[in-house]
């Protein structure tokens, strides 16, 4: 087993090859004689300030003979290989050459922010030196994060989206194990999606006409989706909050489940059974929904990381401890909720430790947060209003209207055959794509597959419009569905709060933007107050889709990566370390995105103060920023704000 990094040199390639070449013509690319490697563990992206290059480096695994010794090494590749088959040995041999070619070419490239000088790239050797022989990042990833955070292009510029999945201290072996396990989990989620889809399709006529008129029908479905196998979770949450409404809610939902057949037509019952039937995944999704209950959980302790870490590391005694803990927690507060958990227990053993710890962590956070009541409300409300069938419909609506910006950045997917695209579309039940070309059908179908799986994984949030905007860039660079899913799930751990029905997450974010503006520019803030716009609702969209609508595909990835790096640093507890050498000395913050949003408002302070006399006008200004933002200036300004204000916010 050999680990390798795959670097996607999208933009570079495009530029070098010239636009006269079609996007689909990749086979001649000189830089890429290297294997395209199957499964990546971490994907790294980098932004080169000088050329505006976007490099996504995928931490990939190449399974080959002979690669096993030495516990794995890290290398990186330009990914554009047409072959799609990994041969690590070749790859190793080619590293130096690839690097040379890539780097020498970069010098001649231009980009909108070409004038902004950025640091030079790390050489592959330096990159490799960040890792210990067993595939761990040295010094807990500090050096590595430093690179990413400063937006410097280096091969070590790790994509933090993937870092969400893995502990910075994880070894290659641990990551391998997690990957295998997570793949199975994803496949189970997909299986459930297909089962549900089948049921829905079979009963589509009923569904179509009954639709939301028969609310019990859809409610049952969603409630059952949520409640099946979630006993532990619900109980966990309840124990957290210690409030009876929750109990009532859950009990109701299980009652509904039991009596679904009486109240509703058959298909809902069938659906619930389908959903109900899978034990382990339910637990997983349940865990997730629990997790999500706490608005401030953010990324300080993300399940995938914690989970993988614990699953890997935990010895038997750890597990037992975990089980005990979780059971105790459940029993304390959730009598009558254990009926089905008993049967599942054996299957869940490996997950339970994580479970317990998460619940415990959450308890604390929840108590601090004090918003459990509203959460409960939102939960029951969301279930009344939305359901899996609705999500399925909206996901498909959104999937087919995803734009095609990604095509230039994802060669192999751009080249997908018509047959493959249609097959995938059919397998996920995607129709109404007549106006799309095969690669976009394929893209849409992948969006559907992953988003749908996510609704089962995180039923409290389900699907919310805007999520397809967030996923599209990820699946463009991550070609494997399972990997992309877990990337997305990691990403969503923080982003999901923006989509909560009770708006706690989004309001908190807007509030921070408002605070930043207030601290930085009291004049502007007063003006906003006069317009009754100090709540900063005009940046709502920016917060929800993280600038995706304002920035180009490439710029978005630049920004997200730096934002993720900050969050990863926080998660890893690398806050106190000396960041002194970093540009601007900005300490990492969980809210870099919000600083960036405030920065782009502040960049327009004069216009806003002098020209705008209503919130509407400011909103229009914010909505028309697309194509007018310089992502590096934005990050510089944001870092500047962080330096000045981080201890005041």
């Amino acid at each position: 087993m050999v680990n390798a990094f795959i670097r996607v040199t999208d933009r570079e390639k495009k530029k070098q090859k010239g636009r006269q070449n079609s996007n689909r013509d990749f086979s001649l690319d000189l830089t890429v004689v290297f294997p395209y490697i199957a499964i990546f563990m971490l994907f790294f992206s980098t932004g080169d300030g000088i050329e505006g290059l976007r490099k996504w480096i995928l931490f990939a695994e190449a399974s080959t003979a002979g690669g096993g010794g030495g516990g794995g090494f890290w290398s990186y590749y330009s990914v554009v290989s047409p072959s799609g088959i990994a041969i690590a040995v070749t790859a190793m041999a080619g590293i130096a050459l690839a690097a040379t070619i890539v780097y020498s070419r970069r010098g001649s490239l231009k980009s909108p922010w070409a004038l902004r000088k950025r640091k030079y790239a790390l050489q592959p050797k330096q990159w490799k030196s960040l890792f210990t022989p067993d595939g761990k990042l040295g010094d807990g990833g500090v050096k590595f994060l430093k690179k990413v955070r400063s937006g410097v292009f280096t091969p070590t510029n790790c994509d933090v989206c993937m870092l969400n999945r893995y502990d910075l201290n994880s070894s290659k072996e641990e990551r391998d194990s997690i990957r295998r396990q997570k793949r199975k989990e994803f496949e189970r989620l997909r299986k459930r999606c297909r089962q549900i889809l089948k049921r829905v399709e079979n009963s589509s006529t009923v569904k179509e006409t009954a639709g939301n008129n028969c609310n019990e029908d859809s409610e049952d479905l969603s409630q059952v989706v949520d409640s099946s196998g979630l006993e532990d979770v619900d109980s966990g949450r309840r124990s957290t909050e210690g409030e009876s409404p929750m109990v009532d809610d859950s009990e109701n939902s299980s009652k509904v489940k039991e009596t679904a057949g009486n109240n509703c037509n058959e298909d809902s019952e069938d659906l619930s059974q389908v959903v109900d039937s899978s034990g382990l995944e339910d637990v997983v999704s349940g865990r997730r929904s629990t997790k999500g209950e706490s608005p401030m959980v953010d990324d300080s302790d993300r399940p995938p990381r914690g989970q993988s870490h614990q699953t890997l590391v935990s010895s038997d005694s750890d597990s037992e401890g975990g089980i005990d803990k979780s059971e105790i927690t459940c029993e304390d507060n959730s009598p009558g909720e254990t009926e089905s958990s008993g049967s599942d227990t054996s299957d869940e053993d490996e997950n339970i430790p994580l479970f317990a710890s998460e619940i415990t962590e959450e308890n604390n956070i929840d108590k601090d947060d004090n918003s459990s009541a509203s959460r409960i409300k939102s939960r029951s409300k969301s279930h009344a209003d939305e359901d899996f069938a609705t999500w399925q419909r909206i996901i498909r609506v959104d999937a087919v209207r995803a734009n095609d910006e990604w095509i230039a950045y994802s060669s192999t997917q751009a080249l997908v055959s018509e047959m493959k695209a249609y097959q995938l579309a059919e397998s996920v039940g995607l129709k109404e794509y007549d106006h799309l070309e095969p690669c976009r059908i394929y893209h849409a179908a992948r969006l559907v597959a992953i988003l749908e799986a996510y609704t089962l994984y995180d039923p409290e949030i389900g699907y919310c419009q805007g999520m397809s905007d967030l996923l599209s860039p990820i699946i463009s660079v991550v070609e494997d569905d399972s990997e992309a899913f877990w990337c997305f799930a990691g990403f969503m751990k923080k982003a999901r709060h923006n989509f909560r029905l009770d708006e706690v997450g989004i309001r908190r974010q807007l509030n921070i933007v408002s605070k930043i503006i207030k601290c930085k520019d009291s004049h502007l803030y007063r003006h906003l107050e006069e317009l009754q716009a100090e709540d900063c609702f005009f940046v709502y969209r920016m917060v929800v889709v993280l600038f995706r609508r304002e920035l180009s595909f490439e710029q978005t990835l630049c920004l997200w990566e730096v934002v993720w790096a900050d969050q990863a640093a926080i998660r890893a507890g690398i806050t106190k370390t000396s960041w002194g050498r970093m540009r601007l000395r900005a300490p990492p913050t969980d809210d870099l995105l919000l600083y960036a949003i405030a920065a782009c408002v502040l960049q327009r302070r004069k216009l806003i103060i002098e020209m705008y006399s209503s919130m509407d006008e400011i909103m229009r200004e914010c909505h028309s920023m697309a194509g007018r933002l310089d992502v590096w200036k934005l990050l510089d300004d944001a870092h500047g704000l962080v330096v000045n204000l981080h201890d005041k916010i």
């Binding site: 179509e208 006409t209 639709g211 939301n212 008129n213 969301s382 209003d385 939305e386 609705t390 419909r393 909206i394 609506v397 959104d398 209207r401 995803a402 734009n403 106006h435 919310c464 419009q465 805007g466 397809s468 905007d469 989509f499 029905l501 708006e503 609702f537 709502y540 969209r541 929800v544 889709v545 609508r549 509407d616 909103m619 229009r620 909505h623």
Partner: protein, 217 residues
Amino acid sequence: MAAYRADDDYDYLFKVVLIGDSGVGKSNLLSRFTRNEFSLESKSTIGVEFATRSIRVDDKVVKAQIWDTAGQERYRAITSAYYRGAVGALLVYDVTRHVTFENVERWLKELRGHTDSNIVIMLVGNKADLRHLRAVSTDDAKAFAERENTFFMETSALESMNVENAFTEVLTQIHHVVSRKALEVGDDPAALPKGRTINVGSKDDVSAVKNAGCCSA
């Protein structure tokens, strides 16, 4: 088509909201009306967006500030905040997706819960160009509209069918209501700020107007 006019040259400003399920074509109705544009790939609306256009109604220049709202339930709390002050609403469903028509009732409830009871509402069946996929009959929708005292029209943003008519009709009816109300009160309608404080009259007014002006494709 009425001429597009300068933004600040108007007699009335009316706030109108576009509501309805996700993917029924609200954003395209808006872009068709305000910019004469249509896109199959228009992205989902996150929160709210708005656009304006001024048209001439009964010798007055009416500036319509049209708020396009996210269709998904999840955004309802945010979007409903923007209902405030609306004097007109286009409640859009997709004639090819029956479920979007079924949800009209909930939208109506939502709308009436957040706005003045005299708001001028038009039920709009969009995507009428997709004749072979039609799932909601015109008669059903018309009957519903009559029952609910709303106007009704079928449109196609793609083919630009009835879009102009639908908006113009709503704006005209708002103007009628406002004028009548103004006469009754003896107010100077031109002095009313931003449309937000306009009282569009009693329920009877709207009903009367409605009876005179219901039309369909």
